[in-house]
């Protein structure tokens, strides 16, 4: 069946089964490979995207359930204020190692910062515990989120 998707502000028509996970539509049908496959069971967070601004695991999200809603991926999260700050903090703090999980980490962190501009350590734990990093970049992820929160606050002041 054909579904109409709104991804990063563009409308796409895709002809797939309705139960096809959004992840594979993004990666294999639309060719947007920034969103990563890690587990297929919402256990690792590598596939995190935003649906109307909220973080979701695209590997278990049927494409039929997102019709009419706005999907944002790593390719466009830099256009949001929180996403932009997170990405620049990730660069400044050199968070990634192998980098494979970082799209998902950035999407989760951006969603956190968009709703909670000054997250505590406990807030960070709660928002980020669903995102595994096998290279162990957690120390820098935490620093990156705090760095981004400060930059965002400064930007709002000025």
């Amino acid at each position: 069946m054909a579904y109409q998707l709104k991804v990063n502000g563009s409308v796409h028509n895709v002809d797939v089964d309705g139960d096809t996970p959004l992840l594979w539509v993004l990666r294999d049908v639309l060719g947007m490979t920034g969103t990563k496959f890690g587990c297929g069971m919402a256990l690792c967070g590598a596939c995190t995207v935003h649906l109307d601004g909220a973080p979701i695991r695209s590997c278990i999200t049927p494409v039929e359930s997102v019709a009419g809603k706005a999907v944002t991926t790593i390719e466009a999260v830099g256009k949001t204020p929180a996403g932009r700050e997170i990405q620049s903090a990730w660069l400044a703090r050199e968070v990634p190692q192998c980098g494979y999980c970082q799209s998902g980490q950035i999407m989760s962190a951006s969603a956190l910062l968009a709703t909670n501009p000054k997250p505590s350590d406990a807030d960070i734990d709660q928002a980020m515990a669903g995102n595994i990093c096998r290279c162990g970049t957690y120390v820098r992820i935490r620093e990156g989120i705090k760095h981004a929160a400060q930059s965002l606050a400064k930007r709002k002041q000025s």
């Binding site: 089964d17 539509v25 069971m41 990730w90 050199e94 980098g99 494979y100 950035i106 595994i132």
Partner: protein, 710 residues
């Protein structure tokens, strides 16, 4: 000659320096002109841009920044003007010196192998550029200096950028690498500074290309079910339901596997789930972990190949005041790289093209040539970033499957393992069985030490020439050589290859097992002697070990009182040419739940190229080691791996991450490895801390439910 290399070398108007990474580990052989075969290249073009072709791959460890730093330091160019290209697969040109000429990145040796030759290559190029400028100005080269990508003649205030000099420099004779002067350490401008990594930008905006992201026109996507029992075969498949799944194009039967080829992975997975597969499980149908461990224990009762013998162990233990014995074990661990195994293959009548992320490009090429019957030069490998290596991508089993699949598919096909297939068809870190005995004198000092380790030798399969007389250097690293002086010592290795499960390198390789058991048993000896674990080690440790031990202990506040249920544990190691000590501080609940509060590391890895990378690699190795030591184990039941995904093969999460403090020793020792070291050291630091907190000695990993206080 490979086309990429030819194109690289033939570009006109550029200065190309070909240089040589030495061919084997051990004392450097004298430079021999006749045998000189360049295996690495730097090119400086007319715009002053510097391109290097390096054989090391980037898998998150910062190699693509550390290696260019070495060249840039001596070439006197900003790091930002250096670009890196992957070397094409060709072991004749790009073999890793420390891996016996095999083109591979592993064993924490990228910086170790490159330290001297890369700096010399940079100095050779700089010398030629200075000479070209001096000739043009008709001045003495000694009156010129190089700085920021230009040659300067201070006396006359003249300055020429490298780009304007490369054509002249290319006509000059190339000085011998050992004739150029290298900077003394005090003059380093880049080495030792926290340089910005060169590979980060694409990793934060989604544009970084891993093997799994390969896009080839007309490509299909496939996923696979492999015989769940090693050695089993595909008996039959009913694919009627799978074929009716929208987007499924083809079902491919292999000898021991079946794959579904589809328009996208969603359809391939759905198709795979709809297959009704019958397997012929073969001889391992009933195999369990208990069988494997029993075999290993039986093998360990005989004597092994002698890895180290000092003094007379038998006599010394007979005369010892106290005797301590223990048996240790480590399980099979999976790699669980974040990027599951994958490869894209386009097989045509007379050629094969492969897109993947690998630590061993030349092996991928050779394996594909073997499977297809094509000559190796007809196989092109496009390497990509690696979504984690950890040793998994030193193997080519996944690529071989993809090529076998491609042989039955018309057009390009990308094979992606599901996470379950990735976990259940990994090649695992070998399990080991370790027997220890030690004799203590009246003061508690160890006067006799014996260790017999039994398990798989990965080297024996992966690099057979390095397995000699029942031994290889990796399997016994950290056991044959410890940081301690034992006057009477016997270390034996019994090679035992387990049935029904494949073994491979895993982050930390030999030391990750040996350091755990040696440092745990040392802790037992300290307890038996009634001594403080740090003081006990310190008394018999070599000078570098003593330095890291003292630094870690002092920074961790060793000896300061802790609340009930909290303990500190120490471990020290010499491995990969580096030393380190870690103090773990853990809290154990009355139910035995372990939370790791803090890890303090002291590291001596010789000269530090990029301290920021060292810190990142310590944090990284600690997470990798803690995940495995706390939670993980691959087990077999009825020949099948029981673990499936991150739910039952756990990885430490951010809320479980301890504080990590890294202290780097200012060292003049030879450069050592860093990428794998912390993974080894953290395991015994953790279990020794659990002992301190609870009195419970963990002799078998993972910790799991064992930490209930006694």
């Amino acid at each position: 000659m490979n086309t990429t290399r030819r194109r690289f070398l033939q570009s006109s108007g550029a200065l190309v320096i070909a240089f040589n990474l030495p061919a084997a580990i051990g004392p450097a052989s004298a430079a021999d002109d006749k045998s000189f075969a360049p295996n690495a290249y730097i090119r400086i073009d007319a715009n002053g841009r510097v391109t290097m072709i390096v054989a090391y791959v980037e898998m998150g460890q910062g190699t693509y920044t550390s290696i260019p730093m070495l060249i840039a330091e001596e070439l006197e160019v900003p790091l930002s003007s250096v670009r890196v290209e992957h070397a094409p697969p060709d072991e004749r040109y790009y073999g890793n010196p420390l891996l016996g000429g095999i083109q591979a990145t592993g064993n924490s040796n990228a910086v170790r192998g490159a330290w001297e030759p890369m700096r010399r290559a940079g100095a050779v190029a700089r010398t030629m550029l200075v000479q070209a400028a001096a000739q043009r100005w008709k001045v003495d080269p000694a009156s010129c200096r190089a700085e920021k990508g230009a040659v300067i003649h201070a006396a006359s205030g003249r300055r020429l950028r490298y780009g304007a000099l490369v054509a002249d420099a290319a006509k000059l004779p190339v000085p011998k690498p050992d004739s150029v002067t290298l900077k003394p350490r005090e003059q380093f401008k880049l080495i030792g500074t926290p340089a910005k990594r060169l590979d980060i930008a694409g990793k934060v905006n989604g544009t970084a290309q891993y093997g799994i992201d390969a896009k080839v026109h007309g490509m299909k996507v496939a996923t696979i079910a492999i015989s769940p029992v090693s050695g089993g075969k595909l008996r039959s498949v009913d694919d009627a339901a799978a074929k009716s799944v929208k987007g499924v194009r083809q079902i491919v039967r292999l000898d021991d596997a079946v794959a579904v080829v589809a328009d996208h992975m969603g359809a391939a997975k759905k198709g795979l789930a709809a297959l009704k597969i019958e397997w012929d499980d073969g001889p391992n149908a009933r195999l369990s972990t208990a069988d494997i461990l029993r075999d290993m224990e039986a093998a360990s009762s005989g004597s092994g190949a002698i890895a180290r013998q000092e003094g007379d162990f038998g006599k010394a233990i007979a005369g010892a005041a106290k005797r301590v014995e223990a048996v240790y074990g480590v399980p099979f661990f999976a790699h669980a790289t974040m990027e599951p195994m994958n490869a894209t293959v386009h097989l045509r009548k007379d050629s094969c093209e492969i897109w993947t992320g690998t630590q061993v490009m030349a092996r991928v090429q050779a394996a594909a040539a073997k499977v297809t019957g094509l000559p190796p030069e007809k196989v092109t490998v496009h390497n990509h970033l690696l979504g984690g290596g950890f040793g998994r991508r030193l193997e080519v089993d996944g690529v071989v499957r993809a090529v076998q699949l491609a042989m039955q598919v018309d057009g390009p096909v990308k094979l992606v393992y599901t996470r379950e297939t990735d976990v259940q068809h990994d090649m695992y870190k070998p399990a080991f069985h370790d027997r220890f005995a030690a004799g203590l004198d009246a003061q508690g000092t160890p006067v006799a030490w014996s260790h017999r380790l039994t398990g798989s030798s990965v080297i024996a399969r992966w690099a057979p020439p390095f397995f000699q007389k029942g031994l290889d250097g990796d399997t016994v690293e950290g056991a044959a050589e410890t940081p301690y002086a034992f006057p009477n010592m016997l270390v034996e290795y019994v090679q035992h290859e387990p049935r029904g499960i494949a073994t491979a390198f895993w982050r930390g390789v030999g030391p990750v097992h040996n350091v755990f058991v040696v440092e745990s048993f040392m802790d037992e000896l300290a307890a038996a002697a009634g001594k403080d674990p740090v003081a006990y080690r310190r008394a018999i440790a070599d000078p570098r070990a003593k330095a890291v031990l003292e630094l870690a202990a002092s920074k961790a506040g060793w000896g300061r009182p802790l609340p009930k249920g909290v303990g500190r544990g120490i471990a020290v190691q010499s491995a990969f040419g580096s030393y380190q000590a870690q103090v773990a501080e853990v809290e154990v609940s009355p139910k035995g739940e372990v939370s790791v509060r803090r890890i303090v590391c002291a590291v001596d890895c010789g000269p530090v190229v990029n301290p920021d990378t060292v810190r990142a690699q310590m944090q990284s190795g600690i997470v990798y080691g803690l995940s495995a030591a706390l939670f993980d184990e691959i087990t077999l039941k009825d020949g099948r791996v029981e673990q499936t995904n991150f739910g039952d093969y756990r990885v430490l999460r951010i809320n479980e991450m301890p504080q990590v403090d890294v202290h780097i020793v200012d060292s003049t020792a030879a450069p050592g490895g860093i990428g794998e070291t912390a993974t080894a050291c953290v395991m015994p630091a953790l279990t020794n801390a659990i002992f301190a907190a609870t009195g419970k000695r963990i002799r078998r990993l993972p910790v799991g439910e064992q930490a209930v206080p006694t």
